[in-house]
Amino acid sequence: MKLKQLEGYLGEVAAFKNPKVQLEQYPTTAHLAARVLYTAESTFGDIDGKAVVDLGCGCGMLSIAAAMMGACSVVGIDVDSDALEIAQENIEEFEVEEVVELMQASLCHEAASTGSLELDNQLVTPMKGKFDTAILNPPFGTKPGNKGIDVLFLQAACSMATGAVYSLHKTSTREYLVKKAEAWGFECDVLAELKFDVPMMYKFHKKKAVDIEVDLLRLQPKRKQV
């Protein structure tokens, strides 16, 4: 499928009806999803015939794009029932039920001792290495109580996928994430620099939306040195 074709189809994917600010819900655009998945397959061969996981799938944009680029199996995971309801409708609309399934789960919880966020290892560890590729547009961790959630999502993705991880993160966190990736045994490349128009959604906020600089990262496990 050509890029323009994919973007055209994805334009029909329904978005959140009432986005929840606390969950940092905003739709991944068809433009972005098409480019991420098209690149992942045409440049790197990471999608066709592969098992893909979409962490924080929201309304399913990335999952559907993955199915359209030939993934054999896609699992989209999200915490929010409302988003998953829309994702399910999208899956039926696009007739990709044979490839894409959804799961409602929270990847993180508050650590009992510190009160900061940590991965739910009992949930995530059994999924280790079950997928070839992970794709995600995770929450950035800008809302109260969510600090560090972007790193945790990326960490979970690196654990679940045996191959590549495609993820979107604030450019301001790039250096930190490259170091983290290194510590996890991964190479981290910046595939593209983007600008996200994120709606602020606070009633009394002056600006309606804010431009955030975002990196599209591709992580892959380092080859073992002989």
Partner: protein, 124 residues
């Protein structure tokens, strides 16, 4: 939810840690739907080592789905095996019902094919 995914779900309630009991999750009132999917043998063969075969056998028996006891020496050359595997893990969808932990009895509901793995405050 397909069985390929059920095969990676363990009970994650706080303090539930008996490996024999918390996995696989036992289906209760499962409503199944067979959805035909294109078969990709390379994909199937690559997935085999990632499956917990013992658990898959327990689950397929529970649901009345055919699955050979043993993985053949050369699965890539065994059409009957690959077809059975394909049907079991990729074409069998659980639409409604719940998954029960044999250890702590927690029930994870499945609604419209979506399993709910969320826990209450005290279970985290």
């Amino acid at each position: 939810m397909r069985l390929i995914t059920h095969n990676m779900l363990k009970c994650h309630v706080k303090n539930c840690d008996n490996p024999d009991k918390q996995f696989p999750l036992r289906f209760k009132g499962a409503e199944l739907e067979q959805v035909e999917a294109e078969r990709n043998d390379e994909f199937l063969v690559r997935m085999i080592p990632r499956l917990d075969w013992r658990a898959l056998l327990v689950t397929t028996k529970e649901l009345g789905i055919e699955l050979p006891e043993n993985i053949p020496e050369e699965p890539e050359n065994d059409d009957a095996f690959l077809q059975a595997l394909h049907t079991a893990i990729l074409e069998t969808h659980v639409k409604e019902g719940s998954m029960v932990c044999n250890g702590c009895s927690h029930e994870y509901k499945i609604t419209k094919g979506i399993p709910n793995m969320l826990l209450a405050e005290h279970e985290i």
